[in-house]
């Protein structure tokens, strides 16, 4: 059922908001012991919100998301509800304010079911670095969900919410959506306010949506996007309805297929994505071969920029003001050292060290400044491609979901797995991932459609067309 259909059922009183919330909470109880997609389930709050929503519906004042059960990634601040970033550091941290995206959902009387699992501080591609233990893939619970918004993707795939808010710094919405066989939209940088999103890499972070379809992601984006005085990097553009192009004729569009994205991918992934290209070709779209030569530098540039910003952003966690504080430490320096040693997991520490190293005065030019240059280069290369194409089609990840524990000890392999998604963040562009096939083990294969800046409408429409003609398999739960 799409969100539009759900809306109709709520408005026609075919379903009650409380009843709907209870259904989801029941499913969470049944399934989430294994899936572990939620860190915090907000049972009481959800029922309260649903009651309030029903009141609004009864008065005939329903907005698009009134009464719709949604999960929120646990790095997005929720007033009065703990927000952990899946870290021991913030295990008991309760924000005193709502993120703007959450406030906008609240203003429509949505129903928040809980806070979803993720990689610690959103650093990772498996969600296995969570302090609370990683989530499992609803298609095969021996496999990872992808990450970092693994809980968000799994919660949607397992039917534990109608839609989910995630965040995407280098693919963190799209890649888990691909692994869990759902749809994930990462909007253009500056579309959704970052106020209340606990920062990982500020110049790359963007709140995105995971849902059952492209149209649903756009439906949620309609509510959460917009200029916010609290985030100076938000765009002032008024975008109207992100679903407005859904159903329109897309056969005149030009779809770019950049060859570099297909070079290191698994055969099954490559074939599935190229088959999707064929699908569009049969519709009448022109498939344009193109190139992003700097892709080979993208992962390095991404890890330098994101780790540098992360090192700075995470410095505030010193045990002085909030969050975890070590019991050991005679003076400030000792206290902060022990607090951070005990409060952060290994992956977070790796990135902090990498980031600080890249910013050191002796290495700044070689690392950080070069990464900035590559960033400019990648933006230019995207501009060149978009002179010839309307959207770009790539795999979302080189592989499908792998077994839990498989890549843990191979950081290089883990980092290079981000190659298909990071350039979009580096260039600040919008992209959407959807399922385009299944591998021999039945695990979903994801493809991504990347658009011009602020042209979410086109990629949503192009994605929607494919989804309507594609036979998506439900996970066997």
């Amino acid at each position: 059922m799409t969100l539009t259909e759900l809306r109709k059922k709520l408005d026609s009183h075919e379903i009650g908001a409380v009843e709907l919330a209870q259904d989801y909470l029941k499913k969470i109880k049944e399934r989430d012991a294994v899936i572990n997609s939620y860190i915090t389930v907000c049972e009481e709050e959800a029922i309260e919100m649903a009651k309030k929503a029903q009141g609004v519906i009864d008065r005939g004042e329903a907005k698009p998301l009134t009464g719709i059960p949604v999960s929120v990634k646990d790095n997005i601040c929720t007033d009065g509800i703990r927000t952990t970033c899946a870290s021991r550091m913030l295990e008991d941290f309760v924000p005193v304010y709502d993120a703007t995206a959450v406030a906008k959902l609240k203003a429509e009387n949505y129903v928040m079911l809980g806070k979803t699992n993720m990689d610690e501080f959103a650093m990772g591609g498996s969600s296995q670095t969570s302090y609370f233990g990683g989530p499992t893939n609803p298609y095969n619970t021996d496999c990872v969900t992808g990450g970092s918004s693994g809980g968000a993707a799994a919660s949607v795939a397992a039917g534990l919410c109608a839609a989910a808010l995630g965040s995407d710094t280098g693919g963190s919405v799209r890649q888990p959506s691909a692994f869990c066989g759902v749809t994930g939209l990462k909007p253009t940088y500056g579309t959704v306010s970052r106020w209340g999103l606990i920062a990982f890499a500020s110049s790359l972070d963007q709140i995105g949506v995971v849902a059952n379809s492209a149209e649903d992601t756009a439906y949620v984006l309609n509510t959460i996007y917009g200029y916010d005085e609290n985030d100076a990097t938000t765009s002032q553009k008024s975008m109207g309805d992100y679903t407005s192009m859904v159903g329109e004729d897309i056969s005149k569009l030009k779809i770019g297929v950049p060859k570099e994205f297909f070079e290191g991918t698994d055969d099954e992934v490559r074939e599935a994505v190229l088959k999707a290209a064929d699908y569009y070709k049969h519709l009448g779209c022109e498939i344009v071969e193109c190139s992003l030569p700097s892709l080979k530098y993208a992962v390095a540039a991404y890890y330098l920029i994101s780790s540098a910003e992360a090192a700075s952003n995470l410095s505030r966690f010193d045990g002085i003001k909030y969050g975890y504080r070590s019991n050991v430490g005679e003076d400030y320096n000792e206290l902060i050292k022990n607090t951070r040693r005990e409060g952060f997991g290994n992956e977070v520490k790796h990135r902090i060290m990498l980031g600080n190293y890249a910013l050191c005065s002796g290495y700044y030019d070689a690392y950080y400044n070069n990464a900035r240059r590559i960033r400019t280069q990648i933006r230019n290369e995207y501009s060149a491609i978009f002179e010839k194409c309307d959207v770009i089609l790539t795999p979302t990840a080189p592989t499908t979901a792998y077994k839990i524990g498989e890549q843990e000890n191979d950081p290089v392999k883990m980092y290079t797995a981000d190659i298909c998604t990071v350039t979009v963040n580096i260039a600040g562009l919008p992209a959407i991932s959807t399922t385009c096939g299944y591998d021999k083990n039945g695990m979903p294969i994801g493809m991504s459609l990347t658009g011009k800046a602020f042209d979410e409408k086109t990629i949503v429409a192009v994605c929607d067309k494919f989804e309507k003609d594609f036979d998506r398999k439900e996970c066997a739960l």
Partner: protein, 472 residues
Amino acid sequence: MRYQPVMGLEIHCEMLTNSKVFCSCQNEFGGGENTRVCPRCSGMPGTLPLLNKGAVKLAAKAGFATNCTVNNYSAFDRKNYFYPDLPKAYQITQFESPICTDGYIDVVGGKRIRINRIHIEEDAGKLVHDDYEGVSMADYNRCGVPLIEIVTEPDFRSVEEVQDFVTQIAQRMKYAGVCDARMEQGSLRVDVNISLMPIGSDKFGTRTEIKNLNSVKSIGRAIEYEIKRQADILDDGGEVVQETRRYNDSQDNTKSLRSKVEAHDYRYFPEPDIPPVVFTDEEIEEIRKEMPELPQERFLRYTEGYKIPQEDAKLIIAQKEFSDFYDEAVKITPEYKLIANLMLGEISHQLNDREMDITAVTFTPANMAKIAEMAAGGVVSKGSAKDIIIIMFDKGGEPEAIAKDNGFIMDNDTSGLDEIIDKVLIEQADAVEKYKNGNDKLFGFIMGQAIKAAGKGANPALIKEALASKLK
């Protein structure tokens, strides 16, 4: 002294905005601990800075006040370091692209001191140490107070140049409305970089930095101490260590805070949360047009427009409020010199005696103008004008009423004056005789007797005139 001192300054000024630089908390001095703190300035997770446009404007004005170029493009960077008074563990500042560059101020001896840059940054909080309990507590009220840092080239060669520069910066920032320049409260703080080189050399020695000097006097003393300390080291064949030092006012010495090896690597990088500040030429011109009168401009108005002696003009201008009071008064009664004399004379005298500031007096510039008008018009004598001022300081009141109540209104009726003077001349025949024999000094004595005889309110000018003609 075989050494030439070389100095450069970094001056921090707290800007007079209503709110802090990256949040809407009030920007004030004092108050209870952590009473002006919000999620933003206390560095709560998920918060983002919101640039105060008023602070940017004031920083541009600081540039105009110091002959700087105000740049079309400037941007913010992060300076990363851990300290409990810095809740985000980074300070937002401008490193690569400051708002103002390439300024100068001319100091004593006509020497030009170049200003490298002025940039915007946020202040940190304060730590309160409780030695009794053995704890330190953080007060974040000052976190996010908007600062500018004015950085000079190493152009200073003497203490006098430094002190004059700091005095001028304080005045200009005050006049431009950028900073209240209260050094004792820390709203203007000075760091001095200082090195010695052999006289005749042009190769700078190793420098030390003395941090957070908070009066013009202690700047002088700290520099003199540091020059001597470094000279002693060099005389002994030693090497000055590059380090940061703190000046202790009560002990009159400087002590090492940290050496170069211990220095932080601040790992600067562009602040991703704040888009660059971009001004068009027109916008910069708009800000320039809003510039209030600066002290050097006021000096010219006083000396050339009002014909006030240069030294007097400087004294009036030294304190902006004092000068503003003067300006208000002369606007009503354009007795430029008379009002200047009264203000630098009796008013300053009373302020000093009472340890008061002009901002604390209860009378107004209009009262001042009235006194000047009465004195100039011969309604009261200049001596009475001073008495009126004293009474206003003591009890307040309107100048005219004070003059009437105390009989200061001069009697300008000359009838009867002749008889009074004749009587005095008879009574003081001895003195008159001596005066006529050449003892000129006795004129004053006879004059005094005549005024006494004429009683309160007599016009001394008229008495003098009449007396002079009779003694001819």
